[in-house]
């Protein structure tokens, strides 16, 4: 049976919790360290952005600076988030392991199978949802990302004991406070925690014990407790951490952004906002699941008689998909049946505005 090193870093300051695994990956790539499972809890809170994100666009930096929250750009993908000691991270670093498929789909399926089993043994009926989600009753309960560092394969994820929803919504940059409110509500609806599911969260020690047992059984590897090597500490101190605290890394130019704002909440669920300039400005904010509209708010400088028609149109579009034909048909029918007056704004303009939301998905 393949042997892996188990590194339990306990509670560690944010940079160690979020980036030490990169030093391990470099050591694994160089053939200096064995395949490794790291378990760690952040000792204090921080905000974290995805590798390809623009820090200024994603994070409310005035807030994080005022609160003294570090912002870390992780080497993995996904969206901006808030992390703290109410999470237990697992970080799998391997190279040429029989236990780790190199295909992304299979890697997630296998590794998240361990997460699912861990949650189940803790009493939560979690399920794996391809590609990289673990859900319970349709709500996300674990965030996961993967990547390659040279020849080393990386998969990172977490057990969520508890979540500070308001703070999570607070660290993100948003167009306005209404967007933030919508986002916070959406997070509460679509993201859950061990505490919410069980009334009280198990201790981090218990979570780690359950996870390592499930890991050994399902990955068919034997975990041998170990310590970081001198070489890993040196790589971290001389390469990994200096890179992460450099302005060049943190403010790395992001690929050109799309027009509008989108925040991923959970599997397929996003809160999106976009403006469309027709004869009048149409501003749309929606909660969507896949392409289905779960909630929609139409604002802007449009003038509609009777004014209730805007709210009625919003209600009419809930459940619709962001598909051009379907939207045009619904909105045209609404105009035929209700005959609202909206100078400068036609059904086609609403469709164009809604299709702008689609580009943000």
């Amino acid at each position: 049976m393949e042997k892996w090193r188990l590194l339990d870093l306990g509670k560690a300051e944010p940079y160690t919790a979020q980036t030490f695994y990169e030093a391990v990956a470099e050591a694994v790539h160089r053939g200096l360290s064995p395949n490794t499972l790291i378990l760690v809890q952040p000792a204090s809170p921080y905000a974290c952005i995805g590798f390809h994100q623009d820090i200024e666009k994603e994070i409310d930096l005035e807030f994080t600076e005022a609160e003294g929250l570090p912002v870390i750009r992780r080497s993995q993908g996904g969206g901006a988030t808030y992390l703290d000691g109410n999470q237990v991270f697992y970080q799998l670093i391997s190279r040429d392991s029989e236990a780790v498929p190199r295909s992304v789909d299979r890697l997630f399926e296998k590794a998240l199978g361990v997460t699912v089993e861990g949650y189940r043994r803790l009493g939560v009926p979690a399920e794996y949802k391809p590609l990289n989600d673990v859900v319970v009753g349709g709500r996300k309960i674990s965030g996961n990302g993967a990547g390659m560092h040279e020849s080393a394969s990386i998969l990172v994820g977490n057990f969520i004991m508890d979540l500070n929803y308001p703070l999570m919504a607070r660290v993100l940059r948003v167009p306005d406070e209404k967007f933030r409110d919508k986002m916070a509500k959406s997070m509460e609806q679509w993201v859950t925690t061990l505490k919410r599911e069980l009334g009280e969260s198990p201790t981090p020690e218990h979570i780690k014990e359950v996870y390592t047992e499930a890991f050994q059984e399902l990955m068919a590897v034997r975990l041998v407790p170990g310590e970081p090597t001198e070489e890993e500490r040196r790589i971290y101190a001389e390469e990994t951490k200096p890179r992460h605290i450099s302005r060049e890394w943190l403010y790395m130019e992001a690929p050109r952004g799309k027009v509008g704002r989108a925040v991923k909440i959970a599997h397929e669920v996003k809160v999106v906002e976009a403006d469309h300039k027709a004869g009048k400005l149409i501003r749309l904010r929606a909660e969507v699941k896949g392409t289905e509209i779960l909630d929609l708010r139409v604002t802007g400088d449009l003038f509609v008689i009777p004014k209730e028609a805007v709210r009625d149109l919003e209600a009419e579009l809930v459940g619709a998909h962001l598909e051009e034909g379907e939207l045009l048909e619904k909105i045209t029918r609404f105009y035929e049946e209700r005959s609202p007056e909206s100078p400068g704004v036609t059904p086609r303009d609403y469709v164009d505005a809604l299709m702008k939301l689609r580009t943000l998905l």
């Binding site: 080497s75 993995q76 993908g77 498929p101 299979r106 050109r256």
Partner: protein, 143 residues
């Protein structure tokens, strides 16, 4: 066109082992990500590349790609100066999935050491070598 396990490898291209392809064009090289690797990565949602004007070394990082929540590197198959980056990719990285050998090209490089480095690539005309390499990659990926 070479077709291996349902994946296309045009025979007028050269293939780097880190899944980049090379097309020679009047002394310059257009490079991109091969169809098999693009499919294995999944629909790409982000790409970041080194800018035009930079010199890159063969085997070193040309850029990074992200699909869903997977992040990987694009390695440069040839040493040389980047003279052009595909402007269409920043808005739509999934062009790499849709047309890996066409609209989804990544960069044009002015090679510095073409003759020597070309020998390290697998020519698309050598079907046996391509098949052997891809088989190995498929086995590693477990797909």
């Amino acid at each position: 066109m070479v077709k291996i396990e349902g994946h296309e490898f045009p025979d007028d291209l050269y293939y780097h082992r880190d899944h980049m392809w090379v097309k020679l064009e009047d002394g310059k090289a257009r490079v991109g990500y091969n169809e098999w690797a693009a499919e294995a990565a999944g629909k790409l949602v982000s790409i970041r590349t080194r800018p035009a004007g930079k010199t890159v070394k063969a085997g070193k990082t040309l850029g990074s790609i992200e699909s869903g929540k997977w992040v990987g590197s694009l390695k440069t198959p040839l040493t040389g100066k980047i003279v052009e980056i595909n402007p269409g990719l920043s808005d739509k990285p999934s062009l790499i999935n849709e047309a890996p050998y066409g609209e989804g090209w990544v960069a044009v490089i002015e090679p510095e050491n073409l003759d020597a480095e070309l020998k390290t690539l697998i020519p698309g005309s050598d079907k046996a070598a391509l098949e052997a390499w891809l088989k190995e990659e498929i086995e590693k990926a477990g797909v």
